[in-house]
């Protein structure tokens, strides 16, 4: 994790922050969901507590804590309690593996009387060489929490909901996994960082020995893999059990699906897992098909770097001047303009870009939910096995042929 205490501390803090970020996206999304649905359905939505009803969620959270800790009769206690905890893990582990921005290079600096660095911090929980396989593997664990919850509740609707949910999840995982083969064929790496770097260019490829360059477009996966992107996106909806694929919780048939018997914070944990899944889905979508944190020719690193440099150089003295507090000597370095600060700022700017893209997709999730009707279960499975899987196959074969023809000799 690190070679000295500073690096370990930063890495650990970073990880906690990323997890907290995932957890905190839930109230925000719930708010967006409620306001958004209200907007679409021409009503008000939550607007009493706080500005625009923003603190409604805080009130809800407090309320959840003081709900009864209910355990149904005949349930399996251990599994019943373990299920919501299990729901948190896949999304958290998967999200931490996705790069949220470019790595930060820290040169040597002095602090607390000793020399630190140089360091290289990745803007993600951890960097794993086979990121894609890892994320797939971890998110395939999501089925457990559903099954555990459904079974432990000793309720037939819960069990049905759980089985439906997991059958649906695994069915769409095939199309999901297969649509990624196209991306792998193009970029030939499992590493997210490398994939993003490969996309951070002007759109250019060789076509029968001819170099084709479209300088005004970024080198995004979606331009090579439109069909793959669509399949991936649709499969992601099903993986997250979101409308139009939210059969596991079809109220009319199954009450509330696998978490019928859960209440209070435990149900909230399922929500965290589910929204976390959406977050991961959006982040993966952005990473694979929309350049991750990069914007290609529209916003190059040099531009941002220059901007950051200007900001740091113009703001740091101002702060020192304005604050005018007699810091101990050792802390003074914190407020001095330095390359490190420029790098950090640049990374955060790109992080902002990433968040913006992710938010667009999260909004799409919400928008679709309030727009489309729900599938019937047989339609759902037919779509997964008989439509999307063959199309994903076709996409793979086509990509392989095109790559073969274009890269030969």
């Amino acid at each position: 994790m690190g070679s000295d205490i500073f690096e370990v501390g930063v890495n650990f803090g970073k990880m906690v922050l990323i997890f907290v970020m995932m957890v905190q996206i839930v109230p925000l999304l719930v708010w967006v969901e409620r306001r958004g649905s209200a907007f679409i359905q021409n009503r008000f939505g939550p607007n009493r507590v706080g500005p625009l009803g923003l603190t409604q969620l805080l009130a809800d959270a407090v309320k959840f804590i003081f709900k009864e800790d209910f355990l149904p009769e005949k349930s399996h206690r251990l599994v019943f309690y373990a299920a919501p905890i299990m729901a948190l893990i896949p999304a958290a582990l998967a999200f931490a593996a996705i790069p949220l921005s470019m790595p930060i290079e820290i040169t040597q600096f002095e602090m607390l009387g000793s020399i630190w660095g140089p360091y290289r911090f990745v803007f993600q929980g951890y960097e794993i060489g086979i990121g894609i396989v890892f994320v797939l593997g971890v998110s395939s664990l999501a089925a457990y929490s559903l099954l555990m919850a459904g079974w432990a509740s000793s309720n037939k609707y819960s069990l049905y909901g759980a089985l439906r949910a997991s059958a649906q999840t695994i069915s769409y995982e095939l199309a999901l996994g297969l649509s990624l083969v196209g991306i792998l064929l193009l970029f030939n790496t499992f590493n997210f960082q490398e994939i993003i770097v490969l996309q951070d260019k002007a759109l250019a490829f060789s076509f029968f020995g001819q170099e084709v360059s479209l300088g005004w477009l970024p080198n995004w996966g979606v331009f090579y893999q439109p069909l793959g992107a669509i399949i991936f996106f649709a499969a992601m909806f099903a993986e997250c059990n979101r409308l139009p694929f939210d059969l596991p919780e079809a109220e009319a048939e199954l009450v509330a699906g696998y978490h019928t018997e859960y209440g209070g914070l435990k149900m909230n944990m399922f929500y965290i897992g589910e929204y976390g899944h959406m977050l991961v889905a959006s982040a993966l979508m952005v990473t694979f098909y929309f350049g991750g944190y990069s914007l290609g020719p529209w916003l190059t690193e040099e531009t941002v770097n220059g901007l950051s440099q200007w900001i740091v150089e113009s703001i740091s003295p101002t702060i020192v001047y304005l604050m005018d507090i007699p810091f101990p000597e050792s802390f003074a370095a914190i407020f001095e303009a330095s390359q490190n600060k420029v790098n950090i700022l640049t990374a955060f700017v790109f992080h902002g870009v990433f968040l913006g893209k992710v938010l667009i997709f999260l909004w799409l999730f919400v928008h679709v939910r309030w727009t489309l009707p729900r599938f019937r279960y047989d339609q759902l499975m037919d779509l997964g096995w008989k439509t999307m899987l063959p199309w994903a196959l076709a996409n793979t074969i086509l990509t392989a042929i095109v790559v073969l023809v274009m890269r030969m000799n």
Partner: protein
């Protein structure tokens, strides 16, 4: 040292956090006396009928078996996709394509056989 430890640490942290939440809920939640009606399985307020658990169609497990098999076939494509360009650069593009074409032919045959044998039909 390694990047495995953060994964482990995060998993531990998440589990810790989850247990914390469950404990908090257990500590702060009111504990009214349980009544028989309340602790019964929830079936929209009606008195539960039949067994709490129920027989479910074999379909689910068949889907799961087929999923496993296809999942492995897809996993086999990953290393192929990774090494594809290397093979092409080494002048063996057609070889690697053919290798996977045979595999894919089997895959596609299997998929269409399953569809035709109505193993994937849900009423």
């Amino acid at each position: 040292m390694s990047q495995l430890i953060p994964v482990f640490a995060l998993a531990g942290f998440v589990i810790f956090f989850g247990i914390l939440l469950v404990l908090v809920a257990a500590l702060f939640g009111p504990k009214p006396k349980a009544s028989k009606m309340k602790s019964m399985s929830y079936e929209c307020g009606l008195v539960g009928e039949g067994q709490e658990t129920t027989k479910v169609p074999v379909k689910f497990y068949l889907t799961a078996i087929l999923f496993i098999l296809f999942d492995i076939e897809i996993i086999f494509m990953y290393p192929w996709a990774i090494a594809y360009s290397d093979f092409i650069e080494a002048g063996q593009g057609l070889y690697i394509f053919g290798a996977m074409a045979v595999f894919l032919a089997i895959f596609i045959f299997g998929l269409f056989w399953e569809i035709r044998s109505r193993a994937l039909e849900w009423e």
